[in-house]
């Protein structure tokens, strides 16, 4: 069966691929493009582990079709660090031990990045509400919230 030809931009790079019409963007990223940072937790938009940014909007890539990526700008976790230079959020997640098993972490980092870009000084409540679409079954969230608060302070000072 012929696929849908898609031309898009991922982490600043021009990318072309063929996908099936019912294939999700998450499956395209992971299985066709080797970008396995986004995880499939639930596959129904409840857990946020597959979060990516499409045209400056945080979305669950499991609820986007690969075919819909045509002409869009997509940011994934793979584009977050610059070479060996970690993003402040990544650095603070490490320092605060804001992860255990790590499955939710790429989604949390992308969602937190989107949050801080739109609101550089969020309150604790705004962080908790802003990240309510991301589920973590290990940390109990407190360490994640602290890491985001600390990263926000670093990024404001930068």
């Amino acid at each position: 069966m012929a696929g849908v030809a898609v031309s898009t931009t991922i982490n600043g790079d021009h990318v072309e691929y063929l996908c099936q019409p019912d294939e999700t963007l998450l499956d395209v990223l992971r299985d066709r493009l080797g970008l396995t940072g986004a995880k499939e937790g639930c596959g129904t938009g409840d857990c946020g582990a597959c979060s990516v940014i499409v045209d400056n909007r945080l979305v669950c890539s499991c609820l986007v079709l690969g075919a819909e990526a045509e002409g869009r700008q997509i940011e994934t976790i793979e584009g977050m660090a610059h070479g060996d230079q970690l993003h402040p959020l990544q650095q603070k997640f490490l320092e605060h031990a804001a992860l255990q098993c790590g499955i939710c972490t790429p989604g949390f980092l992308i969602a937190a990045k989107d949050l801080l870009e739109k609101n550089p000084s969020p309150t604790e409540e705004e962080i908790r509400f802003g990240l309510a679409g991301n589920l973590c079954r290990c940390t109990g969230y407190d360490k994640i919230v602290r890491a985001v608060q600390d990263a926000a302070n670093v990024m404001k000072g930068a």
């Binding site: 849908v4 099936q20 019409p21 019912d22 999700t24 596959g43 129904t44 938009g45 946020g48 979060s51 499409v54 909007r57 945080l58 979305v59 669950c60 499991c62 609820l63 986007v64 079709l65 075919a67 819909e68 045509e70 969602a111 989107d114 949050l115 509400f129 802003g130 990240l131 309510a132 679409g133 991301n134």
Partner: protein
């Protein structure tokens, strides 16, 4: 399965009308992709309407607002003029799902998914919103409450697409509000909900009212008797009690693990009182 992204509403309607098998419209996909994944629907054709000019815009006109079918709910919350004019509609739309879902989900999708618990629908009905339906035979404009006919069912014919939701410019001294009951603080669907839109006269008495209940019957309920009780009042305690009683009585809810019939009836009344109070304050009454 075929995926097509038409450039015009006529082309989209034509594709849907001539589809041999099940066809689905894709805007945000936050219901459609979940239903596909669960095997509840296996479309032969998906028509992505996001490339159609104008469907991703909120237009402000002399008459009010036209919200395109592909506008994500997050964008409603970012539109200062819409938020000021219809705070109840915007607060309802903003309750749907997470930040991730907000970036995709649409009020037209919420309406056409036809869940009795859809958050934006009671607010739209209270606001007197209309749906512009485009189809193979042209366009028609219908009241939002005429769209859902039962859980998961709508009055739309094959080939028809809701192109936009229309909201009038609010009358002077008017205010709307929406609230739902859920057992947690976020990320849930309504057990019961209420939307109220009130217009006051110069003296602060209610001269027009619309009261809508969600998750209280197979489709959204526009409770006309509740509106009649409110008109002429200044929302005194006795009026609020009568409103609660009428709303509780108007419910035809289901009995399930999320709420019993008795609970839903009681909460419908409580919410109607609270939401009417907020709408009254927003309209400038005290």
């Amino acid at each position: 399965m075929r995926y097509i992204r038409p450039q015009s509403i006529e082309e989209a309607a034509g594709l849907l009308a001539s589809a041999a098998g099940p066809a689905a419209i894709l805007a945000g996909g936050s219901d459609l992709l979940v239903r596909m994944k669960g095997g509840f629907i296996e479309p032969e054709l998906i028509v992505d309407i996001k490339a159609i000019a104008g469907l991703s815009e909120i237009k402000e006109t002399a008459d009010g607002f036209s919200i395109g079918a592909a506008v994500p709910c997050a964008v409603l919350g970012e539109n200062a003029a819409l938020k000021k004019a219809w705070p109840g509609v915007v607060e309802a739309a903003k309750l749907i799902g997470s930040k991730q879902v907000q970036g995709r989900c649409t009020i037209v999708g919420n309406l056409c998914n036809a869940s009795p618990a859809a958050d934006s629908v009671p607010a739209l009905v209270a606001a007197g919103a209309k749906a512009v339906v485009a189809g193979p035979n042209g366009r028609r404009t219908i009241a939002v409450e005429a769209v859902p006919t039962g859980p998961g069912r709508t009055s739309l014919a094959k080939g028809e697409i809701i192109e936009a939701i229309l909201l009038d410019k609010p009358a002077p001294n008017a205010g709307d509000a929406y609230q739902r009951f859920i057992p947690r603080t976020e990320m849930d669907i309504a057990v019961v909900s209420a939307g109220v839109n009130l217009t006051l006269d110069e003296a602060g008495a209610i001269k027009a009212a619309r009261v809508a209940l969600g998750a209280a019957a197979p489709t959204v309920l526009l409770v006309e008797e509740a509106a009649e009780v409110l008109v002429g009042s200044k929302l005194d305690e006795a009026t609020l009690e009568r409103l609660a009683k009428i709303c509780a009585g108007a419910c035809r809810p289901i009995d399930d693990k999320r709420g019993t019939i008795e609970f839903r009836r009681k909460v419908a009344g409580v919410l109607a009182k609270r939401v009417a109070t907020t709408a009254y304050e927003r309209a400038g009454g005290k």
